[in-house]
């Protein structure tokens, strides 16, 4: 079942079909041209948008959206028809135009609030608005057409790889651009642009096609993604501001992927996952060279890492072995309690109420930077003349860690163990009758997830240079879970996107921080209503939420056949 807003009846659409298409094309073209015009008298706002034939920022965004609209229109009925006969351009155009309308309205609102009133809007802005309205109205009347088969839509292999490379480059460019926006309006507009673009591409089926392509070139995609992530620090010119956010995103994402093994693959609801990250962080801190460290033994960092991870997984075993035998709800409650017990224990192990391990509420500050061999993570290094500072160093080691965690995730997912987890999620009793050791597999997921969080924790301690109990509130566990659910349970890409959104938004929208929880709550409710399987859906999860959808079942079959070939 697909949820959709009320749409026009087919008869009305057929009646006006002839007028709809030219309107949509005209609107898109207007939007494309408007980018070259002046949008405001005021040359101080949104970068300088007052000069003609010199598009910047939002104007370029408008031109990209306009160009996509023109391309869609020409694919429907025009010279590009043969290029995209498997794209549902009518639906794409409708979604795109809705996004465009919101985007243009937001731009005008930005000009009005920043420069003082709509009088400051120049001809370009108005033309863009007219274009968006024409697109919006016109696209409603463009009828859907017969589609070619998506999986028979083949372009040469090198071209597919080129598409992947270009998409990745676009992602890198957009990420760097967004992060560099200190202007909150530009950040919001950038987001609106991305949403409009993805709405159009998603509804037209481009992403589904991209999924097929990615399936055919899995390794290329993975390599390209890592190359992009690796290149990111080089775009920052040694500035630490964004790299600090980026490292936080990486730690959050690494932990969320670990949680995704527990929640997304094994189907166990863990509400205290942050405690495992905390166990690792505290072990890392206690064994560090900090003056406040409570353990005298200072092994090399890789050993500390391993100890942190093992301690975390031992906690996992202790919590898991009594609770995993009973049904899911109990596990959720026990893990919730464990998260709080962990925080309170760290709060109290200060020498007065127990052994002196954690310095209580003061935590362990002054943790020195990592030193592996002769490489000190606090120093700035120059690579090809580009300075890479402290956070870049941590960024790279975290990238390695994420790579490792993703490797573990995918290997597990595609293994016999992964199959066992799916079977347990589907029908626990039947799985047991097939000889699946249900308890053992659940415990493996639980302790394994804790292990990975422990690894991340030891690095986090050094990167934050301090640990204290108040970093490990229940709220953090809730955010991790939100990242998994929002992004898409059981997928890597989804969780990476979810983690980025949840960590980046509060950093960039500081003025919004008081309403942060309200916004996330609203976001989650909307997601559950309109797309319960998350932003990036694993095909199997999609089936779980849309059981009666037969075309989806066929899609899943295609996807498996692709895998077999």
């Amino acid at each position: 079942m697909r949820y959709a807003l009320p749409t026009l009846s087919d008869e009305t659409r057929a009646k006006h079909a002839a007028k709809g298409w030219p309107l949509a094309l005209l609107g898109s073209a207007l939007l494309l041209v408007s980018g070259l015009l002046s949008w405001s008298y005021d040359d101080r706002i949104l970068g300088d948008i007052s000069i003609r034939f010199w598009p910047v920022g939002v104007q370029i965004m408008a031109m990209v959206l306009g160009a996509l609209g023109v391309a869609f229109a020409l694919m429907d009925r025009g010279p590009l028809r043969r290029v995209g006969n498997w794209l549902d351009v009518a639906l794409g155009l409708r979604a795109l135009s809705t996004g465009v309308l919101v985007f243009v309205a937001l731009v005008l609102a930005a000009i009005a609030t920043e420069a003082g009133g709509l009088v400051n809007v120049n001809e370009g802005g108005w033309i863009a608005l007219v274009g968006a309205l024409l697109m919006f109205v016109g696209s409603r009347f463009v009828p859907q057409r017969e589609l070619g088969q998506m999986h028979s839509a083949r372009i040469p292999g090198w071209a597919e790889i080129l598409v992947i490379a270009l998409s990745m480059a676009a992602v890198l460019f957009l990420a760097a651009y967004l992060l560099n926006q200190d202007d909150a309006w530009l950040f919001v507009l950038g987001l609106a642009f991305i949403i409009a673009l993805s709405m159009g591409l998603a509804r037209s089926g481009f992403f589904t096609w991209f999924g097929h392509v990615a399936q055919r070139h899995k390794h290329v995609l993975t390599l390209a993604a890592f190359a992009v992530a690796f290149l990111f620090p080089f775009t920052q010119n040694g500035s630490d501001a964004n790299m600090s956010i980026a490292t936080q995103v990486l730690i959050f994402a690494a932990t969320a992927i670990g949680l995704n093994i527990v929640v997304g693959l094994a189907g166990l609801l863990d509400l205290g996952y942050i405690a495992f990250l905390g166990s690792g962080a505290y072990i890392g801190a206690m064994m560090s060279n900090s003056a406040f460290a409570t353990i005298g033994w200072k092994p090399p960092f890789l050993v500390t890492m391993l100890i942190g991870a093992i301690v975390a997984s031992i906690f996992g075993l202790i919590i898991g072995s009594p609770t995993l035998r009973v049904s899911g709800d109990y596990l959720a409650i026990v893990t919730l309690a464990f998260g709080e017990i962990f925080r309170l224990a760290m709060f109290n192990l200060d020498g007065n109420n127990g052994p002196k391990l954690t310095n209580g509420p003061n935590g362990i500050p002054g943790i020195p930077d990592l030193q592996i061999g002769s490489f000190n993570f606090g120093d700035t290094h120059n690579v090809f003349g580009i300075p890479l500072g402290r956070f870049s160093n941590y960024y790279f080691i975290l990238l390695l860690l994420i790579g490792f965690i993703i490797l573990v995730f995918t290997r597990l997912n595609n293994s016999r163990i992964g199959r066992g987890w799916v079977a347990i999620r589907e029908d626990e009793r039947a799985a047991e009758a097939m000889g699946v050791n249900v308890f053992g597999l659940k415990l493996l997921a639980f302790a394994g997830g804790a292990f990975l969080a422990g690894l991340a924790g030891t690095i986090k301690a050094h990167q934050d240079s301090a640990v204290s109990p108040d970093q490990y509130l229940f709220l953090e566990s809730a955010f991790l879970l939100a990242a998994v659910v929002l992004g898409g349970m059981g997928t890597i890409a989804g969780v990476l996107i979810g983690a980025t959104i949840l960590k980046l938004m509060p950093e960039k929208l500081r003025f919004f921080s008081e309403y942060r929880l309200l916004l996330f709550g609203l976001l989650l409710v909307l997601m559950m209503r309109f797309r319960p399987e998350g932003l990036v859906a694993s095909r199997r999860r999609q089936l779980e939420f849309h059981d009666e959808d037969e075309s989806l079942a066929e899609e899943v079959e295609d996807w498996h056949l692709e895998d077999v070939r």
Partner: protein
């Protein structure tokens, strides 16, 4: 020679309610043995107890000379005892192939692929639709999948719980002839059925269960011609 499976004085209880009240029966190697009886007679409970999903309150279960009433379910499969549960219980969102591979979950050898092919040979429809989500199958196809899945563990003894439930007469014939084929290939089968006639025609030995007790036993032919059975289960008076 001692029987392959021997159940002695088995009692199983759900809380205070005793569903199986001290039954004894045995299955010899190479045979098809059937348990018949009405709803609530305790047939399914008996099978679930043998495969380790339920624990007996009293009595013993011996498989190939080894007591298995304390062995966990996943180890029982490794011993060579497969259970195709009531209502088929296939995994609807996994593909046919994934379902079959799950049947071989307890195994870890290199011949799983060969057996996958064997399952496709037994039921060609499974091979044709190997990448389709199993939930899109019809009842009969799902039953074939459930049987194929159970065979994937290379069982010495296969327990089938109501394989004909909800199937068309034609499909039921097909399933029953497959049971016969499997026996001729050397698999011992314990068959639980409500469709007494079809089961008894096939069975070397049969037991009639009534509210947790065995009230009649004999060869398939004997039971098929017994007046009591004809009256109670075959709808004749």
């Amino acid at each position: 020679m001692s029987p392959m499976l021997e159940v002695r004085d088995l009692e199983v209880a759900y809380g205070k309610i005793t569903a199986v009240k001290g039954i004894s029966f045995s299955v010899d190697e190479g045979q098809v043995v059937t348990l018949i009886g009405t709803n609530g007679a305790g047939k399914t409970t008996t099978l679930r107890t043998i495969s380790g999903l339920l624990r007996p309150a009293a009595g013993s279960i011996t498989f190939q000379g080894k007591r298995i009433d304390e062995v966990p379910a996943h180890d029982i499969v490794t011993l060579g005892l497969a259970h195709s549960p009531e209502g088929r219980r296939i995994f609807p969102r996994m593909t046919v192939e994934e379902n079959l591979l799950l049947g071989a979950f307890a195994r870890n050898d290199k011949e799983i692929r060969t057996d996958l092919q064997a399952a496709y040979d037994l039921f060609p429809i499974l091979g044709e639709r190997s990448q389709q989500p199993a939930g899109t199958f019809s009842g009969g196809e799902q039953q074939m999948l459930a049987m194929g899945r159970a065979m994937m563990s290379r069982p010495k003894l296969l327990m089938l719980d109501e394989p004909s439930m909800g199937l068309s007469p034609l499909m039921m014939k097909r399933i029953m002839s497959t049971v016969d084929t499997l026996r001729s290939q050397g698999t011992t089968i314990l068959l639980v059925e409500q469709n007494a006639q079809a089961a008894l025609k096939l069975a070397d030995k049969g037991y009639v269960l009534e509210v947790g007790k065995i009230v009649l036993e004999g060869t398939g032919k004997e039971l098929l011609t017994s007046d009591d059975v004809r009256k109670a289960y075959l709808g004749e008076d």
